[in-house]
């Protein structure tokens, strides 16, 4: 966990690059710092490995104040990838990737194994590439080396400063996909600086949007798209992307107004009555306080007439909360073949999403997508 507390940066000429940054970067997540140029995103990132020192405030990595650490040792424990790639042109690919392990005095065989493993990880044949010089590689290949060089000494944190923005669009897409794939294997805490919103939306677990040295909004890509904090965020994301995101409504938006459910003390006959009245093939069951207990299906009710609902084996899984994305409801519908009850955070039942509802939503979603494509 990386934690920035009240961090400020004021340059000698009086320019205040950062105003009171408070930020938590979670372990194993891709945290994207984004914003227009001069917003302080790169400054924020470079303070994490002390390439830039903050003027005020503290930065803790796993509870340790980094200002108390030796900056050189700190940096050896943090991977670093920059936009201009920064491979050492006079060293072979092997020597480049082995830089930090050599500094850390790993033994030769271990370094060799590690370099081989890393090259294989990004699908570059070790025997072919180890002995080559950076200038003999394409831009995309060079940045792959840049990325694995940062991974070489197995740091838990990796800083990436616009690593893909100098590449051509095809290589950029490829490397983004590869980063996402790699991250599934390596689970590093990645701090990624970019000015490209598409890139951020694609790779981020958490987006931190900055403007003029302040954090304007942070949250998941979903959150930013759905609830932009202000006009600036909306403009920065762009109306097109917002519109696309809005195609799929949130769970809250599509909830039926009335809560349809049966109490646990009711019988299957009563439940069947409600189901036929509401045209449902499953019904949520709650206790007398309205807390969701499970679902009874139409067939279950038909097979067990005159049974108290609390005596049935109810389907307890497969409900969503209003915080969830609609795709989760879709997933449950496929898995349990039932309607999807919706609860609030305290498991109070507040509604239900039916199959026919979801079908209608998906239909309109793909209709607008196709129109946009045409």
């Amino acid at each position: 966990m990386i934690e920035l507390k009240d961090v400020q940066k004021i340059y000698e000429d009086g320019f205040q690059a950062l105003k009171n940054i408070n930020l938590k970067l979670e372990d194993g997540k891709i945290n994207v710092l984004i914003g227009p140029s001069g917003c302080g995103k790169t400054t924020t990132m470079k303070m994490l490995n002390r390439l830039i020192e903050q003027s005020r405030g503290t930065i803790n990595i796993d509870g340790t104040d980094i200002s108390t650490m030796n900056p050189i040792e700190l940096r050896r424990g943090i991977g670093y990838v920059i936009q201009s790639i920064g491979l050492f042109p006079h060293m072979t690919i092997y020597e480049n990737v082995a830089t930090v392990p050599k500094l850390l005095k790993w033994d030769k065989a271990k370094i060799n194994d590690r370099v081989t493993e890393l090259l294989e990880m990004v699908n570059l044949d070790p025997d072919t590439y180890k002995g080559r010089y950076p200038s003999e590689l394409s831009g995309g290949q060079q940045q792959r080396i840049g990325v694995i060089r940062a991974l070489a000494a197995e740091p838990s944190i990796i800083l990436m400063d616009e690593p893909f923005s100098a590449l051509d669009p095809i290589s950029r897409e490829e490397l983004q996909d590869e980063l996402i794939r790699l991250q599934r294997e390596i689970h590093k805490t990645i701090v990624f600086v970019t000015h490209d919103m598409d890139e951020a939306l694609k790779i981020a677990d958490q987006i931190i949007l900055m403007q003029e040295g302040e954090i304007v909004q942070m949250g998941s890509p979903e959150e930013l798209l759905r609830n932009p904090a202000n006009q600036f965020v909306e403009n920065f994301i762009g109306s097109e992307r917002m519109a696309q995101a809005k195609d799929l409504p949130s769970i809250e938006e599509i909830l039926k107004d009335s809560v349809v459910s049966a109490g646990e003390n009711g019988t299957t006959n009563e439940a069947l009555g409600i189901m036929s009245e509401q045209q449902l093939d499953s019904l949520p069951v709650t206790d007398d306080k309205g807390v969701f207990l499970g679902q009874v299906s139409l067939y279950q009710a038909l097979e067990n007439p005159d049974t108290k609902l609390s005596d049935l084996k109810l389907q307890k899984e497969g409900f969503v909360s209003t915080e969830d994305h609609l795709s989760r409801a879709l997933h449950y519908m496929e898995e349990y073949r039932l309607n999807v009850p919706v609860t609030d955070v305290d498991r109070q039942l507040i509604g239900i999403i039916t199959k026919s509802q979801l079908l209608a939503i998906m239909h309109s979603y793909y209709d607008t997508k196709n129109e946009a494509a045409i």
């Binding site: 050189i72 940096r75 050896r76 920059i82 920064g86 050492f88 042109p89 006079h90 930090v100 500094l103």
Partner: protein, 214 residues
Amino acid sequence: MELITELLEFWQTRYPKILQYTLEHITISFLAVLFGILLTLPLGIYLTRMKFKPVRETIFGIANVFQTIPTIALLAIMIPLLGIGTTPAIVALFLYSLLPLLRNTFAGIKSVDPGVIESARGMGLSPVQTLFKIEIPLAFPYIISGIKVTTVYVISWTTLAAVIGAGGLGDLILAGIGLNSKVLIITGTISAILLALLADLVLGFVEKKVTKQR
């Protein structure tokens, strides 16, 4: 035709002496360039680190002034200061070598891609490691090319050093002038030319070797 036979005969009989002059010549040139490198390499690197521009410009200015003084005059000035002989000649030629050496070292270090240096720092190389593992190796083609050019110049200027009694191939030429001997003049000249060519060739080879990888 007659001159050629005379020359060949002279070389045959006097080659130990010619060799001695050549060795003197090499020593003077080599020491002048060596001291030049020893001063300008750290100085040039230091200047790239210096934020205060006027000092840097002053130092370059001083090095430049030595270049503008006519060689013969600079050698002459050495006489009241250091007397005659090899030492004042080496000092004078050392002063000459400063500007081209300094300029190339400075330019070489400056030419290193800032991105490369940043990534070196970001990966946890100490400033000393960055200098020796990254900056100097990358600046090396510039530095070696400066050394090559300077060495060739200094070898040719060393012939003048004979004027203040430093010895070297200049002695042969001066003697040739005194005795009106074509053979001596030509021998001195050809030897100096060959020496310069040889230095150019050897250092050019080194230069090629270090730049080849990239």
